[in-house]
């Protein structure tokens, strides 16, 4: 859009009208409402109005930004004067009268028109330097009227802090509109979802409500009017003056740059840029930033290294501490270099800071690098429309975006806690750009450390809080046993935590009882401790498993995988021996100890169910094994391996069940979780067993190429694995249900216990008699 030259009076008038129309203070005015009313009041034929709207670009944008509005008003004036409507006419037609709007409010506007033209000469007398004040509003406000006062020529040498308190000049008539403005913005301010300017919007809201009452003493009070006016002007001046201000600091740079900055500054001046929130970058600003970027780094897709950026921004003469903070905010991926987007954000923040804005604590959304080529950016369409450079941000980061996903993986590895990533954190989710950046900031951090507090993420907080709650619950529950468990299993810290978290997470998900996430009372203690111990068991079993696996692979590659055993071992009720594998009968003894615990009527059903799952799996395996076994001459050593493994497992089972039996006498609470854990363990064991089995069958396939049954076995293998996965999932859901039931039982038992204790207390006095 070409520049729009407005006279002082026009400037005031237009801005006044704009703020009048901008009832929501969003700095963009929808085409309906007051704008239409206004245009109708201009008494122009409808098609002319439409033409005006089209010319000013509102139809393109869908709304009236400040510049569009001003152009529209100018065109109205052109039309009213009888000149043909053309885009060039807004600048070429000289001495246009102000557009006349004949409506209910027209007296005010005409009054304004008169007053503005009369006031234009008064403006000059008030140009003074008022120190930036209590509000940045002063600065903002000042810059607009500053624009009006100063001719557009001296772009480079103006200081930002020269707010002209022009509203003081406005005649008594203006308070009407000002009051309206003040009320509206104060209402609008509270609604604004601004991250950065949020803090200082509210003071202005308060200021307005206070000042709206003092309309009568308008001219007498200097603070209220400027604030109100600032609010009603609200937006742009920062952008309009931001640009020229920075050139002041880069005077020692190349002449080309200063010329460019001067021209762009002039453009800005002429055309009051429109933006929704103070942190949005306008097209002109963006162009300027891009040009500056090019002077440092010709490749727009490249990076500016930290040292170059440091030199560049140091020229802005901001204190190092603030520059450091700006860097922290703008270097989104924390790589010590700035992309185009990051550079623009940093530049914008520097400019804002120089104009008196406080730096936000977090990067405002509009400044975040727009990585829209990542998936699921649903809102990007809107944002790209508003930020004129939508094209380039899309391409600028493509060089980075491939690295972004890799960042997500490399960061976890950089933090020596890669083992935590699998469980503790949810999958990195790419969503809207704002979420993307938050995501990346999160993921960059500990790469899924569940206790990461550094970024209050949209998605993460729920998980974080859940994790925290889980951890807290675990902490509450864990007593000395846990501490010992951890100290002893220091090398297994990742696994127990992983499994424990998995377990706890499962528990929290499945638990219908509300106490699960954070059980303050001590009674829930046994469960997490069981989880700990069981997870330690799992480590042992894993060690055994891996040991077995290695032995099997090394000694006898074609050895039959010991799959049936572990599936049998946890299967507490193995009633169906598999024909091909006589070893399974060994395992059938150990699980039978478990059903002896009387509290688990429910559990036995579950066991049957699980056993049926398991047995079905075994039958699949069994079918394969007879095929393989006859071929294998090494079956004996394999079977011996399996026996050893089974024995170790049965030992573990006995060991596990023994303390369970013992504890059963002491606390009825202890046993319930144990079979659950064992079940879990079995499921987990089954999975590695499945993997192991697939490995073995793969090896088998490799070795016994001449065997026709092999392709069949591989195919069946896949099916078997899928079937087992399905069954495992079903088992999981059953487990979860069981868990909730057990929780309920636990609570009931606890209540009974409490009531019993109370009775005991009551009866105790009598015992002395």
């Amino acid at each position: 859009m070409e520049g729009l030259t407005l006279s002082d009076a026009e400037q005031k008038y237009y801005s006044d009208l704009f703020s009048y129309c901008d009832i929501e203070s969003t700095k963009k005015v929808a085409a309906n409402g007051r704008v239409l009313e206004l245009f109708r009041a201009a008494q122009l034929p409808n098609d002319v109005v439409l033409q005006i709207m089209e010319l000013c670009g509102a139809t393109r944008l869908g709304y009236f930004g400040r510049s569009q509005f001003y152009i529209a008003l100018k065109l109205v004036a052109v039309a009213q004067s009888g000149f043909p409507l053309r885009v060039e006419s807004i600048n070429t037609v000289k001495d246009l009268p102000l557009p006349r709007f004949i409506a209910s409010k027209n007296e005010q506007e005409s009054r304004h028109a008169a007053s503005y033209s009369s006031d234009s000469e008064n403006q000059g007398s008030y140009s003074g330097v008022i120190p930036p004040p209590p509000g940045r509003g002063q600065v903002k406000k000042g810059s607009v009227s500053h624009d009006a006062v100063q001719p557009r020529t001296s772009a480079d040498q103006q200081e930002p802090a020269s707010p002209v308190v022009s509203p003081q000049q406005s005649p008594p008539a203006s308070p009407h509109t000002w009051r309206k403005h003040s009320r509206h913005p104060s209402g609008g301010n509270s609604e604004r979802p601004l991250a950065g300017p949020g803090p200082f919007w509210s003071p202005f809201g308060e200021a307005q409500s206070g000042s709206s009452a003092g309309d009568a003493v308008w001219s007498g009070h200097s603070p209220p009017p400027p604030q109100e006016n600032w609010v009603s002007f609200a937006d742009t001046p920062p952008t309009s003056t931001l640009l020229p201000m920075h050139p002041a600091s880069v005077q020692d740079q190349t002449t080309v740059r200063t010329v460019a900055s001067a021209t762009t500054a002039n453009e800005i001046r002429r055309q009051s840029s429109s933006y929704d929130d103070p942190w949005k970058i306008t097209d002109e600003q963006r162009q300027y930033y891009v040009n500056q970027f090019k002077t440092i780094q010709p490749d727009l897709n490249g990076f500016i290294p930290g040292s170059a950026a440091k030199e560049f921004f140091t020229k802005s003469k901001l204190p190092i501490l603030e520059l450091s903070h700006i860097w922290e905010l703008s270097d989104f991926d924390k790589d010590g270099a700035l992309t185009l987007d990051e550079f623009c954000a940093a530049f914008h923040l520097v400019v804002a800071r120089k104009n008196g804005y406080d730096l936000p604590e977090k990067l405002p959304e509009s400044l975040m690098p727009k990585l829209i080529d990542l998936e699921d950016s649903a809102d990007v369409g809107d944002q790209t429309g508003e930020v004129g450079y939508s094209g380039s941000p899309a391409e600028a980061p493509p060089s980075k975006s491939p690295s972004m996903p890799s960042l997500n993986q490399t960061w976890p590895e950089m933090n020596q806690s890669s083992e935590d990533t699998a469980i503790v954190h949810p999958v990195p989710i790419r969503m809207t750009p704002s979420k993307i950046h938050m995501q990346e900031m999160e993921l960059k951090r500990t790469g899924n450390d569940h206790t990461n507090p550094t970024s209050p993420l949209l998605v993460k907080p729920s998980d974080l809080s859940e994790e925290n709650k889980i951890n807290s619950s675990v902490k509450f529950a864990s007593g000395n046993t846990v501490a010992d468990g951890y100290s002893s299993s220091d090398s297994f810290t990742s696994d127990p935590e992983q499994i424990g978290n998995n377990v706890t997470r499962q528990r929290s998900h499945s638990g219908t009882s509300p106490d699960n996430p954070a059980p303050p009372p001590p009674p829930p203690r046994p469960q997490p401790s069981h989880s700990r111990s069981s997870s330690l068991d799992m480590n042992r079993t894993f060690a055994v498993t891996t040991g077995q696996q290695q032995a099997g692979v090394v000694a006898h590659p074609p050895a039959v995988p010991p799959r049936p055993q572990p599936s049998q071992a946890p299967g507490p009720v193995v009633h169906r021996p598999v024909d091909a594998d006589s070893l399974i009968t060994h395992t059938s003894t150990s699980p039978q100890q478990i059903p002896e615990q009387p509290n688990f009527a429910d559990f036995s059903q579950f066991e049957v169910f699980a056993a049926s799952n398991v047995n079905e799996e075994q039958e699949d395996e069994a079918e394969k094994h007879p095929e393989v076994l006859p071929v294998e001459k090494a079956s004996d050593p394999a079977s011996s391996l399996r026996v050893a493994k089974t024995d170790s497992k049965s030992e573990e089972k006995t060991a596990a069940s023994a303390p369970a039996n013992v504890s059963k006498g002491t606390t009825p609470l202890a046993p319930p979780p144990k079979p659950v854990r064992r079940r879990l363990k079995s499921e987990d064991e089954l999975r590695p067993e499945v993997d192991e089995h697939t490995q073995k069958t793969g090896v088998l396939a490799g070795v016994l190429t001449s065997q026709p049954p092999l392709p069949r076995s591989v195919g069946k293998d896949k099916k078997a694995i899928q079937a087992s996965i399905r069954r495992n999932k079903e088992a999981n859901t059953v487990l979860a249900r069981l868990n909730s039931e057990l929780q309920q039982q636990l609570k009931d038992v606890l209540e009974e216990r409490i009531s019993l204790e109370v009775q005991l207390e009551q009866l105790r006095p009598f015992s002395h008699l």
Partner: protein, 139 residues
Amino acid sequence: MAVCVAVIAKENYPLYIRSVPTENELKFHYMVHTSLDVVDEKISAMGKALVDQRELYLGLLYPTEDYKVYGYVTNSKVKFVMVVDSSNPALRDNEIRSMFRKLHNSYTDVMCNPFYNPGDRIQSRAFDSMVTSMMIQVC
């Protein structure tokens, strides 16, 4: 949970030290200072040949009746020292590790800032907020 967090440079001067505001914060400073000896001892005990395998997390440096002091040292000999309250029995080793991990991450971010000169005091707001979150955790 952490009562005091300190980042000590290679030359054993503090880059950052922050405590929960209580009376007599100086005692925390003193504890951190004395813990440096223990840190050095642990580092040297690992042996020079094992410098690659040396784990960054040093563990409990020494306990007192009220507090426990944990240590962590980076490969550039920057030390993180954390003093925690002993009264919290459920503070697990893993959590301490994760807290140090976060510290380390934030520290690297501070390092990446070109406006930060290594050896300066750390004045990053992000770092501060991270430490604050560690010190005011829900127990």
